[in-house]
Structures are given as structure tokens and as C-alpha cells.
């Protein structure tokens, strides 16, 4: 995450706001919500169901030009805005 912030490239856009916007638009159905914290578990908040995970993966791949391996589709990488952003930043920098 830190790495991504300190070494921005031209095609980089701030990751966390884009992830938040997607989640708010598609899972929370509310904008600029104070209800959803960056560290909050999406599953514990009942925001993500089994189809939601697939929607999220498709969004990340399209938006950030990454390809997620099966083994990467795990809650550790995807269960909060912060975790997702960190994961995407790692993928893009690798």
C-alpha cells in the first residue's frame, strides 16, 4: 500500500476511493457512507455474498488490469476496502 502511494505511475489512480465507490454503488447501495469503514469486514457486514465475490473479482480485474489467481481469491485479500486496496497495490507493483 505504502509503496503504491509513494511510487505513483501514470496509469495509477487512487485505489481505495475507486474500490469504495464500487462497493458503495453495488453492495451497499449508498454513497459516501460513513457506515462503511475501510477496515470493516464486508462479509460480517453482510455486504458480500457468493456472487458478490465474483462481481468484485471481475471489477478489480477490469478496472486495475490485474489477473487474480484462484489462490488469491481469499477473504484475507478481499474482505475490506483496506485489504483490497493493499492487494491491488501489491499486484500492480509486482
Amino acid at each position: 500500500m505504502l509503496q503504491a502511494v509513494t511510487q505513483p505511475s501514470l496509469d495509477d489512480e487512487p485505489i481505495a476511493p475507486a474500490v469504495r465507490a464500487f462497493i458503495e454503488e453495488n453492495f451497499l447501495f449508498r454513497s459516501n457512507s460513513a457506515e462503511l469503514l475501510d477496515d470493516q469486514s464486508l462479509m460480517a457486514a453482510d455486504l458480500l455474498d457468493s456472487t458478490g465475490v465474483l462481481e468484485l473479482v471481475a471489477f478489480l480485474e477490469e478496472r486495475f488490469g490485474i489477473v487474480m489467481q484462484d489462490a488469491e481469491i481469499v477473504p484475507e485479500n478481499l474482505d475490506s476496502i483496506r485489504a483490497i486496496s493493499a492487494f491491488v497495490a501489491r499486484k500492480r507493483s509486482s
Binding site: F29, D46, D49, T51, L54
Partner: protein
């Protein structure tokens, strides 16, 4: 099969009484187009809309008993009326008709309210006892036939459907927020609650006695299971034989009719078995009906063909596409009188219309087998969740969830870590009496994110799961886990959702009576006593039923894994050519005016719908629930004052009468 209505309370003139009964019965005409009748006696009145099935010439209702001291209005069938009639005749009772209606009346004259204990059937009836000046209402054990009531100005009104109650002056429709919250948790409100504030359902297996302005509701039957370590004696072969014999008898008495009886044939085990038994019992003639879905994901035509060939029934199949579902959905909501989270009732609504068009009034169905003999995936899911909980972190155990749901693509593409995460039992869940159903209840509850702030405020502090837990029978905790899960399905979901929205209501919308051999209370009671290991054997659902059906079905059908009956949900509402009512129901203006849901959130869901991106369970039930609530509101809640009156404001329109009676 018919519709009943009536009242008991404050004295009114004969003219006023008849006028009210006429309006009430007018609202039930679809249930009984063949005949109508009314009876008024001072402070009480009975009305009846008749679909003639047994003793077509002699069964006019309301019907009176000895010296006109008792009067009855009856909806349903008493399948053992032949035997009961013989018993009564042997005791010297004289009959005027051949009808099952008169059997109830004679039994009541002999036993009073305890007559219900002798009845094997699907019934909702009202008896006015002139001598005692007492109204007696009763409903069948499993909740096949509906019965609702409300009180206005000291008078109790009752009817087969809520439409008829809304025809009574002074009764208005207003959404009960708790009922909506229960629906957005369980898919249905917990009886006696209905979606209509102030209107109650007489729960299955209950009677109501009204006298001198007092009303008493009590249970005469309850679904019961043995303690976990106290199952039925006898070996598997003997139990199998007992199940077979009883099912054949349950089917045999359900073929009693003075009009032809047809059969629904989905291609699954349950309806195939019922159809096979019916064909064996009446080899000459049997007409069967089925739905073919355009979408291969839901279609079972190949299995239907197999059965039709094996049984040589005269089969009628009608096609159902997403467009049909979207178009008919508002009519389904008006027929079932409820917001609903699934579209599955819609194809059955269309099917009953075809049955009616083909001249049939009665069909047998396989409904109930999954509850009674443990067929639903949720029973297996629950067992697998416990299995996984014993070894947290296992990667192989969660893969079993894929085996449970071969027909759900979203789940098939899931990684083990997420499978485990979704189905994972939290430590406190393992001791929760609702353990088996927690994932479903939680997934459904996720759709509450769409509540409007007013709705959320109104429901603050209310916990639907807690209410259900409190209502469980005292000995529930001593039952086997499978029995507990079966109880939740059979005592709650079956009457609350399945029979109410896929059974009586969608069939009777077209004057078709469904008959359910698996819901014969003798079958239900026997199945409850069968050891759980014989119902769910490993992950083989309905094991004992499959064994009982072995010689009656082709192997391919008998061994076929369970495919739950499902219909296209979100797809039906997302098609670019979907009917206009969908977009207008989701418009910000309409959503705000109705006040139940958050207009901004609904707009985002609608954007997802228009993009064809609604695929998951939560979004699907939310979309269906929001649409059906909107249709429900438009159909039943007439607001006189248009100036910003919300459903929470307690505003009552003064007359529901004209608006509803004509629908």
C-alpha cells in the same frame, strides 16, 4: 373447494348483513364460481362461494344441520368423509346429502369443537351454533386452506382471503412493518401475523371460538417429533412398507371426487410418485400437467417425458418464459396478497390457469414431501456445516458445498476459502436452535439494506430471529437436529410461504384445488417418528421415500438427485423488453411515496438491474421484494390523503370497499 366469509358480533339488520356478505363473497368469486350463498341470523352471518366437486347437486352452502340449529360454510375437502359418514350412519345419524360438508356438521352436532380431531382433510370452515350463539372456526393441521380474521367495532369478520375482509366497511389495508421485516428474514410473516396491520391468520391446526364478544384461539394439533434418542421401533424394511402403504392410501382418498382429478408432474421424485400412485389406482384415465421453462437452467422437461412415457398419462405441458413471469407477477401478488421474495409462485399461477382452461378443478401435487421426508438441500447443508465446524481450516471439507448445489453456478466457481467463509458456523451458531437456517435467514436479511430510514427506525430493536426462537416448542431442544430443521420447514415455511404462495392461493386464483398426499396428517405423523438416519442417509435425501417408491418409479427418476423447483427471478425483471410496471414501481417518486424503501438505494439497484448485472441472492431477493411490496401497496392500500401520509403514520382510508371488491 370454495371461499368462505362471515361475521359474528354486534346485531345488525338482515339487509345490512346480506349486503356485507355479498361484498365479501364477491371478492372471493374466483375461488368458487359455481354457486354462492349467504345466511344471516341476527348478530352472525355466513357466506359461501362454491366450486362444486363432491355431491354437486346436494352441496349448496351455507348448509344447516338438525332443526336448523347449526349452519356451516366450508372450504376444502374431508377425504375420509366416506368412512366418517358410515360410522355416523351406524350410530343412527340420518343424512340429507352425500356431501362431506354435512359430515362435518353431523360430527360437530355430536362432538362439538372436537370434531376436527376426526377429520382427515384440507379445510377451513365456520359453524354458527344458534343454540350456543357461538361461532366456531377451524383450519386444517398443515395449513393447506387459508383463513383470516379481523375485528371491527366489536364484530369479528373472517374470510378465506384478505380481499374479502377489505370489502368490509371500516377495514383498511396498511402494511405491518414487522411482517415486512419477517418476510425480509424468513420469506413470510409468522402466523398469526399477516402483512396487513390488524388482520390475522388463523394458524394451521387451530380453532377459534367467538361468543359474547369474546374470541378464543387455541391449537388442536401440533407437529411433534420424538426425542433424539427415541425413534420409531422397527427395521428399515418394515418402515419402508408402512410408508408405502400409507402413501397409497393417502393418494387413494385424495382421488375421491365427483369431477376428474388431474396431477401435476414436475419430473422430480415427489410429483412423479404421486402421479404413479394415482395412475395405479385409476388405470383408465389420468391427465397430468407440467411447466417447461425456456431457460434450460430451470427446465425439467426431459424427466417429465420419461414419466409421461412410463405412465402413459394424457399430458399437457405449457411453456413459461421470463416475459410471462414478469407480466403475470402483479396478478400473483394480488392473488397471494403478500410481498414475496421469489418469483417461483408465478409459473404455478400460470399453470393453474391452464389446468382450469382444460376443464379440471382438482389436481394432485407432490408438495410437502421435501418437508416431511427431508428432501431440501438445507438439511444436507446443515449437516455439512457441522461437519466443517469440527475441523476448521480444512480445505477439503468445504468442497462438499459444491456437491450440495450443482445447479448454482455462482457457488461452483467459488474458492474453498470463500466456501468455508460463507457457510462457516460461528461458535455461538452451533448452539442456536435455528442453526440449520441461519445462513438463509442471514443472507435474506442482507436485503434490509434497502429499508428507508423511517422503516429502519420503526423496526429498531425488533429481532425477527429472536421472535422465532421464542416461539419454538418447549421440547424442541431435545429433538434430533434433523427434526429441528424439518420442524422449521414444515411448521413455518410450508404454511407460511409454500402453501400460501405456491399452493392454495395461486391454484384457487383459477378455481383449481390442489391435493397433497404427502400432507395427509397420518403420513406427516409417521414420517416424524422415522429415525432421522433413514430420512437423510449420509447425503442421500429422502432415503426412506426413495426406498418406498422403488417399485413404482423408473430408476432414473427414483434415483434422481433433488433439483429444487426454481424459476427465473432477476432475469425476469431485467430483460430490456420487461413490462413497464417494473420501471415505474422502482421510480424514485413511487418509492418515496410508499415510504418503505430508500429511493436512492433502490435507484442504484435499478441501475444494476438495467445493466443486467443482478445475479446474486441478496440483490435478487431485494429486487423481487421491493417490486412485490410496491405492487402490494398499489393493489391494497388506498390512500385518501395524498399529502405525504406515510405507512407509518397510522392513517386509515375510510372506505376500502369499492376499491377492492371489484379487483
Amino acid at each position: 373447494m370454495c371461499g368462505v366469509a362471515g361475521y359474528c358480533g354486534v346485531d345488525s339488520s338482515e339487509d345490512v348483513g346480506r349486503s356485507i356478505l355479498t361484498d365479501m363473497i364477491g371478492a372471493l368469486r374466483h375461488r368458487g364460481p359455481d354457486d354462492a350463498g349467504a345466511y344471516v341470523d341476527g348478530n352472525a352471518g355466513l357466506g359461501h362461494a362454491r366450486l362444486s366437486i363432491i355431491d354437486i347437486g346436494g352441496g349448496h352452502q351455507p348448509m344447516s344441520g338438525e332443526r336448523d340449529a347449526t349452519w356451516i360454510a366450508f372450504n376444502g375437502e374431508i377425504f375420509n368423509y366416506v368412512e366418517l359418514r358410515q360410522e355416523l350412519i351406524a350410530e343412527g345419524v340420518q343424512f340429507r346429502t352425500q356431501s362431506d360438508t354435512e359430515v362435518i356438521l353431523r360430527l360437530y352436532e355430536k362432538l362439538g369443537g372436537r370434531c376436527v380431531e376426526k377429520l382427515n382433510g384440507d379445510f377451513a370452515f365456520a359453524i354458527w351454533d344458534r343454540t350456543r350463539r357461538e361461532l366456531f372456526l377451524a383450519r386444517d393441521r398443515m395449513g393447506v386452506r387459508p383463513l383470516f380474521y379481523t375485528t371491527v367495532g366489536g364484530t369479528l369478520y373472517f374470510a378465506s382471503e384478505i380481499k374479502a375482509l377489505l370489502a368490509v366497511p371500516g377495514v383498511s389495508a396498511e402494511l405491518d412493518p414487522i411482517a415486512l421485516d419477517q418476510t425480509f428474514t424468513f420469506w413470510f410473516p409468522l402466523a398469526p401475523r399477516t402483512h396487513f396491520k390488524g388482520i390475522s391468520e388463523l394458524p394451521p391446526g387451530h380453532i377459534l371460538v367467538a361468543r359474547d364478544g369474546r374470541t378464543e384461539v387455541s391449537a388442536y394439533w401440533r407437529l411433534d417429533y420424538p426425542e433424539a434418542d427415541d425413534p420409531l421401533d422397527g427395521d428399515e424394511a418394515a418402515i419402508t412398507e408402512e410408508v408405502r402403504a400409507l402413501l397409497v392410501d393417502a393418494t387413494r382418498i385424495r382421488l375421491r371426487s365427483d369431477v376428474p382429478v388431474g396431477s401435476y408432474l414436475s419430473g422430480g421424485l415427489d410429483s412423479s410418485l404421486v402421479t404413479a400412485m394415482a395412475k395405479a389406482l385409476q388405470p383408465d384415465r389420468l391427465t397430468s400437467f407440467s411447466i417447461a421453462f425456456e431457460d434450460a437452467e430451470f427446465d425439467e422437461s426431459a424427466f417429465q417425458d420419461h414419466m409421461v412415457k412410463a405412465l402413459a398419462t394424457d399430458h399437457h405441458r405449457f411453456g413459461c418464459g421470463t416475459r410471462d413471469i414478469a407480466e403475470i407477477f402483479p396478478s400473483v401478488v394480488r392473488a397471494t396478497e403478500r410481498p414475496m421474495l421469489r418469483t417461483a409462485p408465478a409459473p404455478l399461477f400460470l399453470l393453474s390457469r391452464r389446468v382450469h382452461e382444460n376443464g379440471f378443478k382438482v389436481v394432485l401435487t407432490g408438495e410437502g414431501a421435501d418437508e416431511v421426508f427431508a428432501g431440501y438441500d438445507i438439511f444436507k447443508e446443515s449437516a455439512v456445516r457441522r461437519f466443517c465446524a469440527r475441523q476448521p481450516g480444512s480445505h477439503s471439507r468445504p468442497m462438499l458445498f459444491k456437491r450440495l448445489y450443482p445447479y448454482l453456478p455462482g457457488l461452483q466457481n467459488q474458492q474453498p476459502a470463500y466456501l468455508e467463509a460463507f457457510f462457516k458456523a460461528r461458535p455461538e451458531d452451533l448452539h442456536d436452535p435455528l442453526f440449520s437456517h441461519l445462513p438463509r435467514f442471514r443472507n435474506t436479511s442482507a436485503a434490509k439494506v434497502f429499508y428507508s430510514p423511517e422503516m429502519a427506525r420503526e423496526l429498531q430493536g425488533y429481532d425477527a430471529l429472536a421472535e422465532l426462537r421464542e416461539r419454538l416448542p418447549q421440547d424442541f431442544s431435545r429433538w434430533h437436529r434433523l427434526s429441528q430443521a424439518q420442524y422449521l420447514e414444515a411448521a413455518h415455511l410450508l404454511p407460511g410461504y409454500i402453501l400460501s404462495s405456491q399452493g392454495d392461493r395461486v391454484a384457487m386464483a383459477h378455481a383449481v384445488e390442489g391435493r397433497f398426499p404427502f400432507l395427509d396428517h397420518r403420513v406427516v405423523e409417521l414420517a416424524a417418528r422415522i429415525p432421522p438416519r433413514l430420512k437423510l442417509k449420509g447425503l442421500r435425501e429422502k432415503h426412506i421415500l426413495r426406498e418406498a417408491a422403488r417399485d413404482m418409479l423408473p430408476t432414473a427418476v427414483g434415483n434422481r438427485p433433488k433439483q429444487p423447483y426454481r424459476a427465473p427471478d432477476a432475469q425476469a425483471f431485467s430483460d430490456p423488453s420487461a413490462p413497464a410496471w417494473i420501471a415505474s414501481s422502482l421510480s424514485a417518486e413511487r418509492v418515496r411515496e410508499q415510504g418503505y424503501f430508500d429511493a436512492t438505494a433502490v435507484a442504484k439497484l435499478d441501475a444494476k438491474r438495467r445493466a443486467g448485472r443482478i445475479a446474486g441472492y441478496r440483490d435478487t431477493v431485494a429486487l423481487t421484494g421491493i417490486l412485490s411490496t410496491s405492487v402490494w401497496h398499489d393493489s391494497f392500500c388506498q390512500r385518501k390523503n395524498e399529502t405525504n401520509v406515510t405507512f407509518l403514520g397510522g392513517h386509515h382510508a375510510s372506505s376500502r370497499h369499492a376499491a377492492i371488491a371489484g379487483r
